[in-house]
Amino acid sequence: MGRVVVTDVASSDAPQLLVELRGVGKSFGGLPVLSNIDLRLQPGSVHALVGENGAGKSTLSKIIAGLYTADSGVIVVNGEEVSFSSPREALDRGIATIAQELALVPALTVAENVFLGREPRTLGWVSRRKLRKEFTRLAERTGFTFNPDAQVGSLRTADQQKVEILRALARGASLIIMDEPTAALSAHDTELLHGVVRQLAATGHTVLLISHYLREVIELCDTVTILRDGQLIRTAPTADETEASLIEGMLGRSLGSVFPPKAPAPTDGDDVLTVTDLVGPGVNGVSLSLRPGEIVGLAGLVGAGRSEIAHAIYGAVRRSGGSVAVGGVECGPSITGALRSGIFLIPESRKEQGLVLGRPIRQNVTLSNLNEVAIGGWVNPNRERRAARGMLERVTVAGDDRRNVSALSGGNQQKVLFARALQRTRKVLIADEPTRGVDVGSRRAIYDLIAEQAAQGIGVLVISSDVEEVLGLAHRILVIRAGRVVAELSGDQMTEENVITAAFADPITVGPTPAGPTTAGPITTESY
């Protein structure tokens, strides 16, 4: 759609900005990270940048944004050669970046954030009236609807991103670089943000989008550039590409299937995990069970209570009711109790909850199980090295494991957490968003690890906002809403439509008997 409106957009007041890169190269410490990149960012289009982690996407976007300076080649803006030595200079030429971590002041209002540092003043006093007027003008230009007086901290992430975009526009940006903008968003918010991106393109702005979600790239973008190992593989209209062709371009080979073949769902064997009427913060009476070798997916919207259920099972939060049993034996309401029973949680956010980023990879692997490589409180370095190496080999993380874990890519960091999980034989593995921010190549490796664990008779609970992922991995899907299991899907009932319907169905009625999804269809509702 973007391309079509470009011509009549010239009349709108959005400045047109044609950014070109010619022969751009960059090395870090002698290692080339980018070489000879030619890129043309057409005004009024959405341009995607795809590639595996380490392919050079972020470096390229940072060169355009003025964070890095290219070693070779030139950047040309509207036919004029430029050289940015800071993001500020890039912004002055109309180039802005919306970072993954938003830089907003939560306590200030939307309008105050948008005009932060450039508030309209009268004699040094911020004029609230003028502020609001300017905000309305800006919002109208972009077609965003917003309450300028809402506190930014109270907004959902997608709206905060919109505020950030408005701020960039207020500073005269017409090329907006977005690095994984939807990685932390729910399906609904992702849709909202896609709308915003389309709107930006329709008003003559250019959007450079870095994304791991190939479907998003194909649906949203006009043009896609594939990078591999710092080389530009090709730039093509997305209409000519498919997910498979993109993956092939990124990997230099075809990936085969995204998901490992599903083992038949185990039908025999006593339940390995039995959760009965679990109540805790954000968990309102959840009962579920897991057979050995079974992969069960927890689907639902962000904030539905999936991670909360995982934390309650793992004993990471105080339970106020219900019980958790592993192999029929009740397990204590603490993390140590859960670990002893054989439950392990790979948490949702590997940076905040999973890894100690400033410590070596090796120590991160052994952290949960240090006593196995220690005698009487003394860590045995040889034993630790062997244990960590063995595990890292199994999860295919290569390289020196004395490096800090922060040196690894997102996918490899996630594998380090799996290595930690594998260090001891578990009975139940809970993986919360195991592939968030993980590149395509590592994603398959992580799926393989999950399938392998199940094949060994471990019960696996996979939580994911990516419905496809849940469908591709799980034998059975539990849809969560408002801290409850609202639907259980298995076999033929496991379709994207059914999952989404159950996840989005009626706003939950507060009370002991929540209404099930209205579309009865193939969905079986749990009774309470």
Binding site: G30, A316, E352, S406
Partner: protein, 332 residues
């Protein structure tokens, strides 16, 4: 983020241990400069004196390093140090003799441990920010110190502990090196090894590096934190007792407590242990404390006006912290 830079940049940049260079180079530079400019500096006598005087502070600083690495901070160590000295002195005065000396030492050290555990419990279970909690505690302890001391001296003047059985602690010199220096050495080595080689040490780093990750990995973060505060209190107790034996009159000046706390923190930070937790080492703290001591000693030997000492120390702290921030910036 920074996918590429983390893959390529580290090979060269990360190999340079900026944080180590930060303390080692200036330490050696000042050491060499002082050795050349003042012949009295690098003598057995002078070095022995400096180490003897720094023994107490080194012990406190080493334990405080653990607190900082685990993500806490203890501003009450100076007050605890004074408190334990007063308790020790009072017991010695009241009981007297060898018995009194033994009981005094025990009471002083135990008092330190108890204060440390109390700090830890307040911070973890009442969830009070360690900076505020230990600041408040230091006022409470200083008040308690005065109470005990009034009871100890019964009238005017200072508590003096001229008991040979007690002063023996500071006057003995095995192999020509003072006993306090030996004690400090042993404690530093033990704490260094604990941090480097034990599971507890690992947990200390993990608790400070990422408390939530450590908790979800099954580490009892609260217990780890309490232990570090307990160790800091214990160390302050030992240091208080040792310095009392050296002096041998009980210090009764709040400024002594404050100065000790700040010097300890300054030494730790100058050594390169992160104030944010998760990083650091005992040897860094030792170099940091000795660096400051060496500077002061050098100023004295070179007859520089003492008022410049404070200014120089302030500048050095700023440079050290600035360098630390810069080296972190380089790594991202």
């Amino acid at each position: 983020m920074t996918n590429e830079s983390t893959l390529a940049a580290p090979n060269l940049l990360r190999r340079i241990p900026w944080r180590s260079v930060a303390i080692v180079v200036p330490f050696l530079a000042v050491l060499i400069a002082l050795s050349i400019s003042s012949p009295a500096f690098l003598t057995f006598q002078n070095v022995g004196n400096v180490l003897d005087r720094q023994a107490g502070i080194l012990i406190v600083a080493a334990a405080s390093t653990l607190v900082l690495i685990a993500g806490g901070i203890d501003l009450s160590i100076g007050a605890t140090y004074m408190f334990t000295a007063v308790i020790c002195g009072t017991v010695i005065v009241k009981v007297g003799g060898a018995e009194g000396a033994a009981l005094g030492i025990l009471a002083g050290v135990l008092a330190g441990l108890i204060v440390g555990i109390a700090n830890g419990l307040i911070i973890t279970y009442l969830k009070i920010n360690p900076l505020i909690a230990t600041l408040a505690m230091s006022f409470i302890i200083l008040g308690a110190t005065k109470l005990v001391s009034q009871f100890g001296k019964q009238g005017v003047g200072q508590i003096r502990v001229d008991v040979d059985e007690f002063r023996w602690l500071a006057t003995t010199k095995p192999l020509g090196i003072s006993l306090p220096t030996w004690i400090a050495f042993v404690i530093l080595v033990i704490l260094g090894i604990v941090l480097w080689r034990t599971t507890f040490g690992r947990y200390v780093y993990a608790a400070g590096g990422n408390a939530e990750a450590a908790r979800l990995a099954g580490i009892r973060v609260n217990l780890v934190r309490i232990s570090t505060f307990a160790l800091a209190g214990l160390a302050a107790g030992i240091a208080g007792v040792i310095d009392l034996a050296r002096t041998p009159s009980v210090p009764e000046n709040d400024a002594i407590a404050t100065t000790l706390t700040f010097t300890v923190l300054a030494g730790i930070v100058v050594g390169g242990t992160s104030i944010l937790g998760g990083e650091g080492a005992i040897w860094r703290t030792v170099l940091g404390i000795l660096f400051i001591a060496m500077l002061y000693n050098g100023f004295t030997l070179l007859r520089v006006d003492p008022l410049f000492q404070g200014i120089a120390l302030g500048v050095i702290i700023l440079v050290a912290v600035g360098f630390d921030a810069w080296s972190k910036y380089r790594r991202t």
